[in-house]
């Protein structure tokens, strides 16, 4: 028999108190783990969604928008003086300082056409650039020639067209050279033709509706590149797609800080639960500790017994807390985050951290009760019998 046996036996005997301590720590640890896992999953989700966009900079015509509202009611907006982007101007993008970070520049011409009694958006694209900008495209068929188009999966279904079929629009006949596999994006709804074909179709010679830019490398200076492209194209509005999600990331960051604050409070409460429960336990065991001291246990032996009990319960709380927090995060992302795969990977570092945190809180909170127990005078303790 060792001191560890005494600790374990006492925990088994005082199951209620042990469970109380365990519950306090589990709630604290699972809250911290759940919040961290959830934020991690959210961040990974955002990063994953960003990676899905081959382009991370958009160049759109500058517009002057007026939004008409009265008393909180929006009555619509009016856009005027929209300056289309000239194709020749786009070439100036290749002369910016960070031009080497540009993997692809893909101009687009957009317009609406009638096909088989359906209105559909036709996009004229540079298919060479599209290979980099839209790496997720999977084409069944071939890229189109001057008189060809490829269809998005949904467009093909609605228009009832397959590869090899032809249709007429704006007094021109086009042949479907291929159909894209479903992408889950707006591309499924579009008809794609060569840039020059669309420019001719919509009478936009030398002009484009917008352009997509794929900037390479993880640490690419997006903000600098946006500024440089803006300087090169004063008549255009240049946006980093990251700007769109930056607000979300900032909000996430603030939520993270707030959550850590709440977690800290919950952990503090958990540690107080441990402290009070262990102190109560020591007071209840005055006679028992007196026996230990009377038969020759040193103070450190008594403290070891108390700390061992705390360590066993805390270690268990760390494991259970991590599993509970991880499970909660999985449930939360599925419930609160649209389109999330629901995968919250097992994080070994976080699990180890949760275990160590629980141990630290349990042991730290038990320090005073352990010292209190060790200082019990055996004569006084036995006189209490």
């Amino acid at each position: 028999m060792t001191l560890k046996h005494i600790s374990i036996k006492n925990l088994i005997r005082r199951k209620g108190k042990a469970f109380f301590v365990l519950a306090g720590l589990v709630i604290g640890v699972s809250t911290v783990v759940g919040i961290i896992s959830y934020i991690e999953a959210m961040t990974n989700d955002i990063n994953h969604k960003l990676e899905k966009y081959g382009a991370n900079i958009l160049i759109v015509p500058r517009t002057e928008n007026l939004t008409l509202t009265y008393g909180g009611l929006s009555l619509g907006g009016v856009s005027f003086e929209m300056q289309e982007i000239r194709e020749a101007k786009l070439a100036q993008v290749s002369s910016i300082k960070n031009a080497r970070n540009i993997a692809a520049l893909g101009p687009l011409v957009l317009g609406v056409v009638d096909v088989n009694s359906h209105k559909v958006l036709l996009a004229g694209v540079d298919f060479k650039a599209s290979a980099i900008l839209k790496p997720w495209w999977q084409l069944q068929g071939e890229l189109p020639d001057e008189n060809g188009v490829i269809l998005g999966a949904e467009a093909a279904r609605i228009l009832k067209l397959s590869t090899g079929d032809s249709f007429e629009t704006k007094d021109r006949r086009f042949v479907v050279s291929g159909i894209l596999q479903p992408t889950g994006s707006q591309d499924d709804q579009l008809v794609f033709a060569r840039l020059s074909t669309a420019q001719a179709l919509f009478d936009k010679g030398g002009r484009v509706s917008m352009a997509e830019v794929a900037a390479l490398c993880q640490d690419c200076p997006i903000e600098d590149m946006v500024r440089q492209i803006s300087d090169a194209l004063p008549g255009a509005k240049v946006m980093a797609i990251q700007q769109v999600v930056k607000g979300r990331m900032q909000t996430l960051g603030q939520f993270k800080k707030f959550s850590f604050g709440i977690s800290g409070v919950i952990l503090l409460i958990g540690s107080l639960v441990v402290l009070v429960t262990m102190m109560s336990s020591v007071r209840e065991r005055t006679d028992e500790i007196g026996i230990f001291r009377a038969i020759g246990f040193r103070k450190r032996h008594v403290m070891q017994i108390i700390f061992l009990e705390a360590a066993i319960v805390s270690g268990l709380a760390g494991i259970v807390g991590y599993l509970l927090g991880w499970g909660s995060a999985k449930a939360a992302v599925q419930f609160f985050v649209d389109g999330h795969s629901g995968i919250v990977p097992f994080n070994l570092e976080l699990a180890a951290g949760a275990f160590i945190l629980a141990l630290f809180i349990g042991l730290a909170s038990s320090a005073y009760p352990a010292v209190m127990a060790a200082r019990l005078d055996p004569g006084e303790a036995l006189r209490s019998l």
Partner: protein, 233 residues
């Protein structure tokens, strides 16, 4: 020099007008191998004296020396070591740990001793055999009788083979037959050379000792051998 020497022991509690003298200037000497009974009425100071002898209650003044060691000049941790190595203590009301088995209760003093597991097991089994409880080793204290609990307490006190055994009312809660059995056990240990100091208020139990010290109002009022009156084996 005697094995155990107490000189001018005084123990008081409280302060000022509320001072209570539990032990008043007590001196005695005990040789190794003696069986000493401490008798007296309730509140006479017997248990206080025993706790001083057990290195658990520092006297207000005076010295207490065992085997040339001045017990109360030691630190509290050294006193704990002294208790572990020199003393076996049989407490009033058994003082068994309720959630440990009979075997584990007897093993308790050996928990912190640096001996092999097998050796400790043999020592516990020997102690239980001596008190006749080996077959009940797996039981919990609430599953055995009062007499058996006392035997377990005795086994725990002697498992470490201490030279001195202190017993505080070892038969206080037992019937006469069981008390006699317990006293015979103690006599056997004494025959093997163990020094025993026993507090009792029972004349019947006191007769098993070879020397009797009567305590009254914190003082030793009589100290005489039990020539011819003790119950031989």
């Amino acid at each position: 020099m005697s094995y155990i020497t107490a000189e001018n022991l005084i123990k008081t509690y409280g302060r000022g007008d509320a001072v209570v003298s539990a032990v008043c200037d007590v001196s005695f000497q005990i040789e190794a191998g003696e069986f000493v009974g401490l008798m007296g009425e309730s509140g006479a100071g017997k248990s206080t004296l025993l706790s001083i002898m057990g290195a658990m209650n520092a006297p207000t003044s005076g010295t207490f020396v065992v085997d040339e060691i001045d017990i109360y000049s030691l630190s509290s941790e050294q006193q704990a070591d002294f208790r572990r190595e020199f003393l076996g203590f049989i407490f009033q009301d058994f003082c068994l740990v309720p959630y440990l088995t009979v075997f584990e209760n007897v093993m308790l003093p050996l928990t912190i001793v640096k001996k092999g597991r097998k050796q400790k097991q043999v020592m516990v089994e020997n102690a239980l055999s001596q008190v006749g409880l080996l077959e009940k080793a797996a039981r919990l204290p609430n599953q055995i009788s009062g007499g058996e609990k006392e035997r377990v307490a005795i086994a725990r006190a002697i498992v470490n083979e201490p030279p001195v055994l202190l017993a505080d009312e070892p038969t206080g809660n037992l019937d006469s037959k069981t008390s006699a059995d317990i006293m015979k056990l103690l006599q056997n240990f004494n025959s093997d050379g163990m020094t025993i100091i026993m507090v009792t208020h029972s004349e019947a139990c006191a007769r098993y000792a070879r020397r009797l010290m009567r305590v009254s109002d914190g003082k030793i009022v009589a100290d005489q051998p039990f020539f011819g009156k003790h119950l031989a084996n």
